[in-house]
Homo-oligomer: 338 residues x 2
Amino acid sequence: MAPSVNRQVRLRERPAGIPQAGHFELVTAPVPALRDGEFLVRNDFLSVDPAMRGWVSAVANYSQPVGIGEVMRSVAAGEVVASRHPGYASGDRVMGVFGWQEFAVSDGSTVTRKVRETDLPLSASLGVLGLNGITAYFALLEVGAPRPGEAVVVSTAAGAVGATVGQIAQLAGCRTVGIAGGPTKVALCRNEFGYDAAIDYKAGNLDAALGQACPRGIDVYFDNTAGPISDAVLRHLAIGARIVICGTASVASWDPPPTGPRVERHLLVKRARMQGFIVFDWQRRYEEAVGRLADWVRAGKLRYREDILDGIEQAPGAIAGLYRGENLGKRLIRLRHG
Amino acid sequence: MAPSVNRQVRLRERPAGIPQAGHFELVTAPVPALRDGEFLVRNDFLSVDPAMRGWVSAVANYSQPVGIGEVMRSVAAGEVVASRHPGYASGDRVMGVFGWQEFAVSDGSTVTRKVRETDLPLSASLGVLGLNGITAYFALLEVGAPRPGEAVVVSTAAGAVGATVGQIAQLAGCRTVGIAGGPTKVALCRNEFGYDAAIDYKAGNLDAALGQACPRGIDVYFDNTAGPISDAVLRHLAIGARIVICGTASVASWDPPPTGPRVERHLLVKRARMQGFIVFDWQRRYEEAVGRLADWVRAGKLRYREDILDGIEQAPGAIAGLYRGENLGKRLIRLRHG
């Protein structure tokens, strides 16, 4: 029986910096009838990601900004509940850009992938087996290009991307150092995600702690924050270091861009490389990453944490909470139990 | 007949920023007697390079700083005039780190290469066929990795490195845009070095001029300046852009580092790469570059300019003049005519 009512979170106002609950509104809309070539997805989990800040920003980005009044763009995972599309059948589990809403009509173009790891929880397809895990996999291995024995430093080290990066770097034979905020996350880095060392940047003395943790310099810096954390890391680069720019969580607004110490001399003297990464460029290789990540999860070599909020009414304030660092693990909105 | 007197320029005082004439002193010293395995080089040309600022800086660098009272480190070119070394004979032309002095004793370890292009002026071995040309060759082709049809922007575009970069980029099928200071250098870029467009950054409106010159964005930025010129260029990057950090001529002092707009978001959104380059890493491939560059010079495809100062007494003030932009072309000190 087709559902008739769809709750949606729409963008009400364009935020200048971090999106807050008030920038969104929760509305009720009818579920449209399916046309040929379409199917209906019931979203079971909505993703909450730092990148969503950029998706609603007016500043130049890699995608068109979400329009005012439009359903908030979001990755979600769920099940096909009705279909007039030959490639999708009821019961198929899918992950894709379905938006912050209970039901999404798709013609297939918004599907990122079918979720075939039926032995693993569907929620994992939004985190460790989703864009976070895929990001960690390609950004670290292809852009960071770590070699066994090298020192890899990760910022937001306990986060959905960071924790996966740290563990993949361990699997690649590297020495891993996590940077996180507060003793709880630092303990998580050490005890759950297996970092060789973890540093609480809020405790001060980041510079000294990095020097101690990486006496021969930092070979790979996986950067999810920018800002003062990066400024400190850059003072400890090894010759030939690679810096992966994956996120800028510490920067409240890029309009105008904040100022900081110029990086050119670090890069020059250390012949270092700093490179931006966006996961969508790697779409053709997603299955390779998910296959590998799922194997590691099954083998107990890759751990992940989830921070689950219940109910779509939690979505509007969920991005701001992420930037406040209140989550432990991948933040998700659960729309349905079981 | 062996010379007995050697005039040398020594470092008298460590400069905080750009080295000025007063940081050096001209002294007279005896020419030491040769021991077995040594030979004596008569320097005909001394090189003056922006990088020499870094060689006397106390700030971390890729080499030990020149000590107070030591002969100023410098690349030079000349002729072997006496030898007790089996690999070097009187009359051999050599280029190497012989210092700012008339005569240098070497055991071979300070030789960069023997100059075998006897059909070309010896002075060229310090510029277009020396570290400037070799830098341009590898930094552009290996780090910048330009593809035909791409837009390549070069700062200090009329300089010894920049002018060579621009011409190699042309040879590689790129569209080239030079940034230089003042109408004379801009004219040189257009008329002598074949840039498709040249922009005078001192005229203001660099941002608009870049937008006009590169309407589809900048694919490769060969950066010799850092500072506000780079800030403007970074606002016009194309997706997948490569930024080669080769010098930081616009920065008067790195101690402490100056501040500027943070670059992470540009790199992230454009999946761009920023990488430092130091020519000494490419030593094993120098002959490949010189061979190619010399062929281009002979074929009239690669032009170069020299700015020759006569007499070793010109050396102490020559670096500061470079940073004031007073030279047109590769700056050299000529010690000997003919």
